[in-house]
């Protein structure tokens, strides 16, 4: 029993780690930077055809006439597929096209321009239907509903706690404000799509740009009427997913159908305009808030009404997340979803926390300004009123606030909103925000093999969506076996491997770390037993370090001598982490604080990030370099939606006007400023095990940057992104320009 007790799956003492927690370059860095790494968009097996789509140029319409025959007559066109979501080719019945960009026909041809010729040859006539796309205009939605009888508003309920009216009437300071975050589109570097190749009529090979290798074969087989065994999905490398790539998608099915019809492989990657229009958006949220405090700055009441859209679903930012991180004894909240003829919503990195954060913590910042109080003090004071589930993280937030404030020199630089002085048009200010995320370990199973020559490999149906999953797995195995990174091999990205969860929700690092630690320790203990027997030493005294098996600091044998004892067949061990497993290897719930120092040019409305700091916890860190990279990436995506990124819908035509990378603006290096990342990792963090990190750092930038702009100028620019237009309009309205 003593031995069983000792053989518990745990992480080793922090001081003993050789690899875990260090700065380690990605093991696939050279492949990625040299082009050896093949993404789905790179797959080009012999004979591969190219596909192009005909998409709707209407916000809401039916198809009066569709004739695809001219496309089939274009020389070089090999197959044409009509999307059943648009039109029933058998009956001639049109479905409703409900947003600009909805796919109608896919054409596969020998060359991309021939496919485009095929698309151009298609004859189509639309019957336009009434549309509505102005997601900020709730009154306009009401009017549109009255005029057309088409439902445009969906009550998402309300929720009351305490006595808000009494608390407001007793409060010393009451602030009313309006805030919002516009819809943004997913814009992965690698667009959505796949390469499909049939082997006979009943086997389908799919290279899919996906966050869900193990979960997508069934989506193909179901739609195509195949056995699930017939579909193999592969995704070796992926150029980003961010929550938008969990599905086979109708264009994935189209790709498979085209390949079948043509008898040749087909690659169908969405073009950038279509990707922006239909491959997922982040819902908008606009909020009217009344927030009140006592004379000490304790928030005593919150009363909010918000709306926005997630497209035709009539959803918006979820009601239960308001207010964000904080909650107050007296709190009313209400939400309404707008049904808009806009492309569908998909999970966008930390859904919907960035909007929740910006809709809550800007109001808190304005309340502090109204009180003449330093926002830092108001946020700090109210950390005794955090939302349910965060009470035991309040001290961590306090700690992180102090560290971040020191990093950015908050106390020396802060000034009351709009009182920074300076003669010129450039005003400088500070802002902060806090965030939270779950990040508990997701399901993962792996098959780990140790061969008798000492080589180690693992197989799992997970995916590396660009975050460093391969590297993390290699570190866990190498650390456990006392090997170098190049002595372990990670095989992932195939649905033939043991199933592993989708990579979404920051659950991957926990899942793969736990499964591999378990498998590696199980394997190692079996090897220890063999070594103990062979060399006549106690198994429980053995450890694996530096390519050797040691006992009490003395070498017993080399790793290769130990693995030679395995015999001719490899040692195979399965490692499993079930969803919600609580075993000490992983944990959940992380937090972070971000503080921004910005300059606003009040003459031209431009904003520059000077310094932007983040203090972030995530439990035990496997690779600090990739962890920091996640945080940098999150902060940069945050700067993007705070300052530039926005889907612009035309209220008159219902079209998505800026579906291209000239008008859909994102930051370049010069827009990013000086980012500083501090991973918060006292012993208490290490001891709680691994927690996911992908989402949290993208949450706070909107609120932190908006607050910094308000601090600089003394005027709130209410809606993100803070474009020159919005900044100048707000300054003019606020009398500051």
């Amino acid at each position: 029993m003593a031995e069983e007790t000792k053989r518990e799956h745990t992480w080793g003492p922090r001081a003993d780690n050789v690899l875990i927690g260090k700065d380690i370059q990605r093991i696939d860095a050279a492949d990625k930077s040299s082009g050896r790494a093949k993404y789905s968009a790179d797959i080009n097996t012999p004979g591969t055809l190219y596909a192009r789509l005909l998409t709707s140029n209407q916000a809401h319409a039916k198809i009066k006439k569709l004739n695809v025959d001219p496309a089939t007559q274009v020389e070089g066109v090999r197959a044409v597929y009509v999307f059943p979501t648009a039109y029933d080719i058998e009956t001639g019945e049109s479905k409703e096209l409900r947003w600009d960009g909805a796919p109608i026909v896919a054409v596969a041809a020998d060359r991309p321009e021939i496919a485009a010729d095929g698309v151009r040859a298609i004859e189509i006539e639309y019957e336009p239907l009434p549309f509505f796309v102005d997601e900020e205009d709730i009154e306009g939605a009401k009017k549109a509903e009255e005029e057309t009888g088409i439902k445009r508003l969906k009550s998402l309920g309300d929720n009351k706690k305490g006595d808000v009216a009494a608390a407001i009437s007793d409060a010393v300071v009451v602030h009313k404000g309006y805030y919002g975050v516009h819809t943004i589109s997913h814009m992965c570097l690698e667009p959505h799509g796949s390469h499909c190749e049939w082997q006979g009529d009943d086997k389908l090979e799919v290279h899919l740009s996906t966050q869900n290798v193990s979960g997508t074969p069934g989506q193909f087989s179901g739609a195509l009427g195949l056995d699930e065994t017939a579909v193999h999905v592969q995704s070796d490398y992926e150029g980003g997913g961010f929550g938008s790539k969990f599905a086979a998608d109708e264009w994935g099915i189209a790709c498979a159908e085209l390949a079948k019809a043509a008898g040749k492989p087909v690659r169908l990657m969405l073009d950038r305009a279509t990707d922006l229009k239909i491959a997922g958006t982040r819902p908008s949220g606009f909020i009217e808030v009344t927030i009140a405090a006592d004379s000490e700055g304790n928030i005593v009441a919150w009363d909010s009404d918000h709306w926005g859209t997630n497209g035709t679903g009539g959803g918006t930012v979820r009601l239960s997340g308001i207010p964000y991180v904080f909650d107050f004894a007296n709190r009313n909240r209400k939400a309404t979803g707008l049904v808009c003829n806009t492309g569908p919503n998909r999970a966008w990195r930390a859904p919907p926390h960035p909007q929740l954060c910006a809709m809550t913590q800007t109001a808190m910042d304005d309340l502090a300004a109204k009180m003449g109080m330093d926002s830092y003090d108001l946020f700090m004071k109210n950390l005794n009123q955090v939302s349910k589930g965060l009470a035991d993280r309040a001290d961590v937030y306090r700690d992180q606030m102090k560290i971040a404030a020191e990093m950015i020199d908050w106390k020396a630089k802060w000034h009351p909103h709009g009182k920074g002085g300076g003669n010129g048009p450039v005003k400088r200010g500070l802002g902060l925000a806090l965030h939270t995320w779950g990040g508990g370990a997701g399901p993962c199973s792996c098959l780990l093999k140790v061969h008798r020559d000492g080589s180690v490999e693992t197989f799992l149906g997970s995916q590396d969506i660009g975050t460093g999953t391969r590297t993390v797995i290699a570190i866990v195995m190498a650390e456990t076996f006392g090997l170098n990174l190049d002595q372990v091999k990670v095989n992932l990205g195939s649905s033939k491997y043991p199933k592993s969860g989708a990579s979404g929700g920051s659950i991957t690092v926990g899942g793969v770390s736990s499964a591999h630690r378990r498998a590696a320790q199980d394997a190692l203990w079996q090897i220890f037993d063999l070594v103990a027997k062979k060399f006549n030493v106690p198994a429980d005294a053995l450890a694996a370090r530096g390519g050797k098996i040691v006992s009490g600091g003395q070498e017993v044998c080399t790793w290769q001598q130990a693995t030679a004892l395995i015999g001719p067949m490899p040692l195979e061990v399965q490692g499993v982490n079930g969803r919600g497993t609580k075993d000490g290897l992983t944990s959940s719930t992380v937090g972070g604080v971000q503080m921004a120092d910005v300059s606003v040019n009040t003459e031209d409305g431009t904003i520059r990030i000077n310094d932007f700091v983040c203090v972030q916890d995530c439990g035990l860190i496997i690779d600090e370099l990739t962890a920091r990279s996640q945080v940098y990436g999150g902060m940069i995506m945050g700067i993007s939606y705070a300052l530039m990124e926005e889907r612009i819908m035309d209220n008159h035509t219902g079209r998505y006007l800026n579906a291209n990378l000239e008008d859909y603006k994102v930051p370049r290096i010069g827009d990013i400023g000086n980012l500083q990342v501090k991973m918060y990792q006292p012993a208490s963090e290490y001891n709680r095990g691994v927690v996911g990190l992908g989402e949290p750092p993208v949450i706070s930038p909107g609120a932190a940057i908006s607050n910094a702009v308000a601090n600089a100028t003394g005027v709130r620019v209410p809606v993100l992104p803070l474009t020159p237009q919005r900044v100048l309009d707000a300054l003019q309205k606020g009398g500051a320009a």
């Binding site: 485009a116 151009r120 450039v426 040019n601 612009i648 006007l657 000239e662 010069g670 020159p724």
Partner: protein, 331 residues
């Protein structure tokens, strides 16, 4: 992209002959940085593309007639590096503000001068005038990047040239050749641009079969110049507004001035008001500010783009200060 013939002339005459077969359906390829995108989007569907890159006479920068002749094919990189252009500070600044080495190395001066509008309605196939059922989409829909001057007619787009304001402010002349092999005319660059009233009219005076071969810049002893692009991002981005100034100074005061705005009207917009406000004044923060205010005194913004009036004012102020080496501002 529709299939097309590709022609590769070596001389101006050859180019004109190749364009003359079917001038309405012929497009000129210089740097190709925008033409290809327009063809891919089916906004332009030429039967023939005439690639003028190998016409040597249009590749050079040289002294001519008391000024500098700039060939149509001179690239933005050439503008940044050619010593003959170093005194035209506003041109160099305009090239420097194009934050993409790809465009700087491939993009040509004539390509810039003839650049078609970036109006998102035009680029989506609604035509230059962006009308639907006779109504103006930028007025009814979203005109946030559209014109705040010269917009009383049907055209609401803004000109997309980044160099014309600086060149016009220097008094540049443009040499146009064609449609006949001997046809040639030279006119002030300011008069090159026009605002169309119908879809069939273009953005310039160029007729089918004609092309810009050269731009001539006068030397003006003692003149100083500056260009300022208001850019939202640090990367490749179209200015929200821009301005260029060329000033002659005498005894510390402005004796002659030409101030031209970009990205605010369907054509480069010469502001007599701004020039008048500066004449006889020293260049200071205050006089530059007043000139900026004068420049926008007769602006006519659409419902969405009032902020561009402030940007135009700021661009004028900064272009003037930059001419005199006094620009601080910026971030």
């Amino acid at each position: 992209m529709k299939s097309f013939e590709f022609a590769d002339p070596r001389t101006e005459t050859e180019a004109l002959e190749l364009m003359g077969d079917n001038p309405e359906q012929t497009a000129i390829f210089a740097g190709g940085t925008d033409l290809i995108a327009l063809m891919q989007a089916d906004v332009i569907r030429p039967d023939r593309v005439v690639d003028i890159r190998n016409i040597e006479s249009m590749q050079q920068v040289y002294e001519a007639d008391g000024g500098v002749m700039v060939g149509a094919l001179v690239t933005l990189d050439d503008v940044l590096e050619n010593p003959l252009l170093a005194d035209y500070a506003s041109l160099v600044q305009a090239a420097d503000a194009v934050h993409a080495i790809q465009i700087q190395s491939s993009g040509t001066i004539a390509g810039d001068l003839c650049h078609l509008p970036n109006c998102w309605y035009y680029r989506s196939g609604y035509g230059l005038l962006a009308q639907e059922n006779g109504k103006s989409l930028p007025e009814l829909g979203d005109g946030r990047y559209h014109a705040v001057f010269g917009n009383s007619g049907p055209a609401k787009y803004v000109t997309a040239t980044r160099f014309a304001p600086a060149m016009i402010a220097w008094g540049a002349q443009v040499r146009i050749i064609g449609p006949g092999p001997e046809d040639e005319e030279v006119l002030p660059l300011e008069h090159f641009y026009k605002t169309p009233r119908t879809e069939r009219q273009g953005t310039t005076v160029l007729k089918p079969g004609q092309l810009v071969s050269h731009v001539w810049l006068p030397r003006i002893a003692g003149a100083v110049s500056g260009n300022y692009d208001v850019l939202q991002t640090a990367g490749l981005d179209w200015p929200l507004a821009s301005a260029a100034a060329t000033l002659e100074l005498s005894g510390g005061r402005v004796s002659d001035a030409c101030i031209v705005l970009g990205f605010v009207a369907p054509t480069p917009w010469v502001s007599q008001e701004a020039a008048s406000a500066l004449l006889g004044q020293p260049v200071t923060e205050e006089t530059a500010q007043l000139a900026g205010e004068a420049a926008v005194s007769r602006a006519t913004p659409l419902k969405d783009n009032g902020y561009k009036v402030q940007l135009a004012k700021t661009a004028v102020k900064r272009a003037i200060l930059r001419s005199a080496g006094l620009l601080e501002g910026g971030l």
